[in-house]
Amino acid sequence: MKLVDQSSQQYRRLWWFASRGFAAVLLVLLVTSILTTPGGLQNLFNGLAIGGVYAIFALGYTLIFSILRIINFAHGAVFTLGAYFTYFLTGSAVGFNGLLANQQLPFGLPFPIAMIGGGILAGLCGILIERVAFRPLRNKGADPLLTLVSSLGVAVAIVNVIQLLVGAEIYSYPRNPFGELPAALNLGTFGGLSQRPVIIRTIQVIIFAVSMVIVVLLTYFINATKTGKALRAVAEDATTSSLLGIDTNRLILITFFLSGLIGGIAGTLVGLSVNVSGPYFGINFGLKGLAVIVLGGLGDIPGAVVGGLVIGVAEAFVPSAQVAYKDAIAFAVLFLVLLLRPQGLLGRAVVQKV
């Protein structure tokens, strides 16, 4: 008995060293290849900017998953909604298709406020989704798989309603949304590290900064506020939480609001970078978000952030000639990581409770 214990412990320690060692080697290889590839640093910065959005978008999935153990397939649609809400809040007009053709709000908000407003409206849509697609099934004790399907149904419905109301054309945000800023920053060659000067678009800096601010605020909320701690309690054990006087349904609503809020802001940020490309804007993004949370470890907040940045950077290194393979890269990275760490980069191994 004792012998078995010892050898399994030794095996575990060996495995620990081997996996850490492997990770370290990979990291060194990665850093040297970034520095030696022409335009490596450029790619790194590009990757971090989009990776930041992947991260906050994936956090929306993560929040709901950690509480309900269900993937909210409508999250990509909420992302799309946020992007559209922001567009209309800036006072821009609907195009010439759809029921609302050529309509516009009688006022226009400055872009940063419109972005927050768009996020809040997307958050309210999140609450609506919980009330329509999640809670009724939960109250009936339905299998989580059914809820998954109903969230998928909501996603399809949202996409179609958007198309019905505002058509399927591409929408672009107003020019210079943040006032007269230079279009790009020249960071120089980092003392010769990079052969070419590294140039990043101002928008990319803003996207990354907004994403990281959201990550910090959310981390603070979850770990340091009373409601955040209650949220973690519900995520760990909902029944016991209700025995402590926590209204679990209310906290689930808060979670859906937060998820929608950051999802909507993520939609706006991507819209800033590449335009809002139509009602299906969030669908492709939604799939990639799934890759991010699986990569980082399901239900793990730091994992979602790391996963988002890793996938963003990995994609940025796809040479422009092979840009069609960009999405494949994200899933290839996912596949490789899962082979080595089935629980995800930062996820805990699932301990079977006896």
Binding site: A233, E236, S242, L244, G245
Partner: protein
């Protein structure tokens, strides 16, 4: 008027009858114990009071108010704390945060802080481990944390489910010493225990549950002498 009154409570799990027409009462300041074999419905009774299982029929009256249709968190607000079977501490949060969550329904921050110190005085082991994750505590320490956490809401009625389960005899004695201490402080307790003799030694009154039905009731001292109870539960 009794603090807690249960009238004809029946609970089904799926198609299976877990409780059948159970009626009992708990007076202010009492320790009342529910004893019985595994699966007799002891925990189910407590869960029905806390509303984490639905009753098929019957009423639960707390201090004259029918609470049988309230949500679990509303029951806690009315002053019922449930210390569940298997302790159920929040393993991924610190001892201190577990206690803070126990006071979730309270709004008096200063009083909560003072009560945490009070619990630390009652359970010095918890103070030593205040910043440790609750999941790293030993079984006995987790049970102490679960009781302390339940007390943090300043309950009028404490539901204790199997506090001695799986603990070493020394720890069990310590837990029951504290139950006695709480009784002296005037806390009303409904205690579910498999260790019938210990429970009856500490309780004022007792009920015996068999296959979902109450069969014997009486003063704890009488039950300890009752031939049927002795044969079935006291060995």
């Amino acid at each position: 008027m009794a603090l807690l009154e249960i009238e004809n409570l029946s609970v089904n799990y799926g198609g299976i009858r877990a409780l059948q027409s159970v009626s009992l009462s708990v007076e202010r300041g009492e320790i009342v114990t529910l004893i019985g074999a595994n699966g007799a419905g002891k925990s189910t009774t407590l869960r029905a009071i806390s509303r984490i299982v639905n009753a098929r029929q019957g009423r639960i009256i707390l201090d004259g108010k029918d609470v049988s249709r309230l949500a679990p968190h509303e029951i806690v607000k009315l002053g019922v704390a449930h210390c569940p079977e298997g302790r159920r501490v929040l393993a991924r949060q610190s001892v201190y945060d577990n206690l803070m969550l126990g006071a979730y329904v309270r709004r008096d921050a200063a009083g909560v802080k003072a009560d945490i110190e009070l619990q630390f005085k009652r359970f010095p082991r918890l103070e030593e481990r205040r910043n440790q994750l609750a999941g790293t505590l030993s079984g006995g320490e987790q049970q102490m944390l679960a009781i302390a956490r339940a007390l943090m809401s300043r309950p009028r009625l404490l539901l204790l489910d199997e506090p001695s389960l799986g603990l070493a005899p020394l720890i069990v004695r310590e837990i029951f010493r504290i139950i006695g201490e709480l009784h002296n402080e005037g806390v009303t307790i409904l205690l579910v225990e498999q260790n019938a003799s210990l429970a009856l030694q500490h309780a004022n009154r007792g009920y015996v549950l068999e296959a979902g039905e109450l069969t014997i009731r009486g003063n704890a001292a009488d039950l300890l002498k009752d031939e049927r109870v002795r044969q079935a539960y006291l060995g």
